[in-house]
Amino acid sequence: MIDVLLFVLGSSLMVLSAVLSLIGAVGFLRFRNFFLRLHSATVGSIGGGVYGLVGLALLTLSLDVPGYLKYYIFGVAIVSAALVVFASPTGSHILSRAAYRSGEAAPRPLIRDKLKEAGLE
């Protein structure tokens, strides 16, 4: 019984997450500026990545396959979900900082810029 529950939960998480990943991709096409795209990238990597990995782990745990395959994919999915949670925001942060400071991509539609007012260069 609990297996069926896990299977349904895992597969619905995966489908939800795949749709979120698609929405993130659409956001990339719709937003016109790098600093706006950062947010849709977060949708793509957290909503589309971490939830999908957790769902995949739950789904694998419920299957009737040999143990080494099951627990291996479960462990790999959980550990890589944790790594994505640590690594992906750091990458976004350091990239946006470099883009702002080097002037490679200017945050054009902006109603107020406290960073410029602070004069932190």
Binding site: F86, T90, R97
Partner: protein, 265 residues
């Protein structure tokens, strides 16, 4: 995009034509084919390498790594030497010295995250290298994964921190040379023993060969608490040595390149 001359257009067309011809002959001569199975040579390797009763066995389920270190061991040794010589060349071109230690991408966030990621990468790379004879991977793959960890520290903290952790240039050169030397020793020790005792043996020989040579490395040890520990003769030893050589070599190359290109103002 600037306008292209007629000659360049012709060149592009010719190169695409080259690709098309290549594909056509590969498909025509059945080099790439979906319907046939493996060629006999592939079947020979796939059946003989994991099979303990075969004369060409290496007692390892991983066909790729065992072909690399057993059946073509001599070749792989020289390929490692090519990497060694390339890094010596880099050292010669660079001339160590100069270069300031600090880094520009370092706020508090990458500093902490790099510290968290470093042990994960090292653990993964050691696992890849140690199980090269059981699962996909091996010395080279593990070494190139390992090189990412010091590179991360190099990017975030600069060269000083890396030197504080023990990754000094002299130590790296020493470890690398020692590993390459030990690969030679491991490869030739069976030959030396054979010469001394008067039985025939080969360079980079792993398991004993039934009609040709009666000596060789053992394939596994029986553990005192039951069960066996399979290390497939030379395969695991050579993987560990290659892991040392490649990881220190890449770290050295990255440190040198960072020093040379970062030191100029």
């Amino acid at each position: 995009m600037r306008s292209r001359g007629a000659l360049e257009e012709l060149g592009l067309v010719l190169s695409i034509l080259l690709g098309v011809l290549l594909t056509y002959y590969l498909v025509r001569a059945d080099v790439v084919s979906l319907t046939y199975g493996n060629i006999p040579l592939a079947n020979l390797y796939l059946r003989a390498v994991p099979d303990p009763s075969s004369p060409f066995t290496s007692r390892s389920p991983e066909v790729v790594t065992s072909v690399i270190w057993d059946q073509r061991g001599y070749d792989t040794y020289f390929e490692t030497s090519v990497l060694f010589i390339a890094i010596i060349g880099v050292l010669y071109l660079a001339g160590l010295g100069g270069g300031q230690g600090n880094s520009s991408v370092s706020t508090v966030i990458p500093r902490v995250i790099a510290k968290i990621l470093f042990p994960v990468i090292v653990a993964v790379s050691v696992s890849v290298a140690l199980h090269g004879h059981l699962t996909p991977g091996g010395g080279f793959q593990g070494g190139s994964i390992f090189a990412v960890a010091p590179f991360l520290y190099l990017l975030v903290f600069g060269r000083r921190m890396l030197e504080g952790k023990g990754f000094r240039a002299n130590a790296l050169v020493f470890a690398r040379s020692l590993a390459v030397f030990l690969i030679t020793v491991v490869g030739s020790i069976v030959l030396v023993v054979g010469l001394l005792t008067g039985v025939p043996a080969f360079l980079f020989q792993n398991q004993p060969k039934p009609q040709l040579s009666p000596i060789g490395y053992p394939a596994y040890v029986v553990l005192p608490w039951g069960g066996i520990f399979l290390f497939s003769g030379t395969l695991m030893i050579l993987n560990v040595l290659e892991f040392t050589a490649v990881s220190t070599g890449f770290t050295l190359a990255l440190v040198i390149i960072d020093t040379v290109t970062g030191g100029r103002e």
